[in-house]
């Protein structure tokens, strides 16, 4: 009969799991069938999708959940308000709330039109008098990532470089946790965070009216162009209005991303971005994968050369439809 084990005599266990890159290749096999680049058509990507099962967070001025255009798609009870406490520290309160301006409702309306069965949550990061602080934006974004939202739309940003690193770390966290983060590009060639980071998908305007007619831009940090000019948007107090800006292009692409993800929920953020690339109008019009890369690049550069380089948008080239 063996002696009972004495404390400290057990076989040594690894302190931490082995890192992913040492795993057996069998555990890295992907679910489902193989997909080639040529399979990545709009039909494959979002055909028949409605956004069902997707949770989308909109970090903005709030959302007017009762707006008729939104048809009850907003999870009012899940919504949070982020504010600054008396000690200057941000805090999060889960509570139903309205829209202080109308912009968040506009973003929600754009996403709902595209992905009608997705559930939308408001993360209100603007305070009374529409005051905004980078630390409040950051806290709102951190909350949405922590909650594991599938798609997060952030049409706001900060130009403050001292907030660059916190936003960088948070966006990387979103990327690895699987939240797809869509941001509006800055109109000017100046830093705006987090729209500059590779872990997010930054969007500016094209001239199309069709949200499914979005474009890949081969000159980052703005990687996609989507409709954002004279867009009919839902607004505060049950109204609608016509609006223009990159901040309306972002939810348009977020809506497409929501559709794709609802049909292919296992896609990682970089794979989702690849599907967006493959289904972009200017990429689909090219005949081969290599050709698509080359011709999309050439077409966009040609447009850029012909335009006035007054902004980031012009510098990367707007594509006329």
């Amino acid at each position: 009969m063996a002696d009972p084990p004495t404390p400290g005599s057990e076989p040594m266990q690894p302190m931490t799991p082995r890192p992913a890159w040492t795993r057996e290749s069998t555990v890295l096999r992907l679910p489902g069938g193989a997909v080639s680049l040529d399979d990545l058509s709009p039909e494959w990507a979002w055909g028949g999708a409605t956004g069902r099962g997707m949770r989308v967070a909109i970090i903005d001025s709030g959302i007017e959940a009762s707006h008729p255009d939104l048809e009850g798609c907003v999870d009012e009870d899940a919504g949070v308000v982020v504010a600054l406490g008396d000690d200057g520290e941000p805090f999060v309160t889960q509570q139903p709330h309205g829209d202080l301006f109308g912009h968040g409702t506009a973003c929600a309306g754009i996403i709902h039109r595209l992905a009608p069965e997705a559930r939308i949550t408001s993360v209100q990061v603007l305070g009374e008098g529409l005051s905004g602080k980078a630390t409040v934006f950051l806290t709102g974004l951190a909350w949405a990532i922590e909650q594991g939202y599938d798609v997060i739309n952030l049409s706001l940003g900060t130009t403050r470089r001292d907030w660059a690193l916190p936003f960088y770390e948070l966006c990387d966290q979103a990327y690895f946790r699987g939240s797809f983060l869509v941001t509006a590009a800055n109109n000017m060639m100046r830093p705006s965070f987090p729209s500059l980071y590779a872990s997010v998908t930054s969007v500016a305007c094209n001239l199309s009216k069709d949200p499914f007619h979005f474009h890949y831009n081969p000159e980052p940090p703005t990687e996609f162009l989507a409709p954002g000019i004279d867009v009919e948007v839902s607004w505060r107090e049950g109204t609608r209005q016509s609006a223009t800006g990159n901040s309306y292009a972002a939810p348009s692409l977020a809506g497409i991303a929501t559709l794709i993800r609802s049909k292919h929920p296992d896609l990682r953020p970089f794979q989702l971005k690849t599907v967006l690339w493959a289904t972009a109008s200017n990429v689909r019009e090219a005949s081969t994968a290599a050709g698509r890369l080359t011709s999309a690049l050439s077409a966009t550069r040609a447009t850029a050369m012909g335009g006035r380089a007054t902004s980031a948008l012009r510098a990367v080239g707007r594509i006329n439809m």
Binding site: F101, G102, G129, L130, S155, N187, R190, T244
Partner: protein, 179 residues
């Protein structure tokens, strides 16, 4: 009056074809008009922020161009509330310099009707960048005070040093009363 900001807002209004426009700078209790075209009487006036496009742009750092519905309560917010105006079109862009949003440049009512175009957004954004530099230089501090502010300051000085300022204060108030 800050001539640089005044020139910028005049140029912006001209290139974008706006009827009126202003530059607003943040103050501890809201916003203040620091330059204006077509509404010069507003310079130095505090601006209510609730629901206003200018306050949103200041916070979000993103330009906004829109054609508000006349029945939208927000249409008459901000500077429009001081003028009793319900603009048919609005273009508002942030004045950024050295990583900070230091104010906003807002234009209203495109001449001939219709919305401000994306070209307008881009051109005015460039001009707003110059306004940002001017705001950072502290230029808005030299804005001419309103008559009310001037009279208040003179009364305060007259109370503190009646020998020097009382006569001046009475004379200025008499002038102000005459309009």
């Amino acid at each position: 009056m800050n001539v640089v900001l005044q020139s910028i807002v005049t140029s912006a209004g001209s290139v974008a074809g706006a009827t009126q426009g202003w530059v607003l700078a943040p103050r501890p209790d809201g916003l203040e008009v620091v330059a204006a075209v077509g509404a010069g009487e507003l310079i130095g006036r505090p601006v209510p922020t609730e629901g206003s496009t200018a306050a949103y742009v200041l916070a979000a750092g993103q330009p906004v161009a829109m054609v508000p519905r006349p029945d939208d309560p927000a249409t008459g917010a901000g500077v429009a509330s001081l003028l009793g105006l319900r603009p048919g079109s609005v273009l508002c862009v942030p004045c950024v310099h050295d990583d900070e949003v230091l104010g906003v440049l807002e234009l209203v009512d495109k001449v001939g009707g219709g919305p401000f175009s994306f070209d307008d957004v881009e051109l005015v954004t460039v001009l707003a960048g110059i306004a940002g530099a001017a705001l950072q230089a502290g230029g808005d501090d030299v804005a001419v005070p309103t008559p009310d502010h001037l009279a208040t300051d003179l009364r305060r000085l007259a109370g503190a040093d009646p020998t020097t300022y009382a006569t001046v204060a009475r004379a200025v108030e008499a002038l102000l009363a005459r309009g």
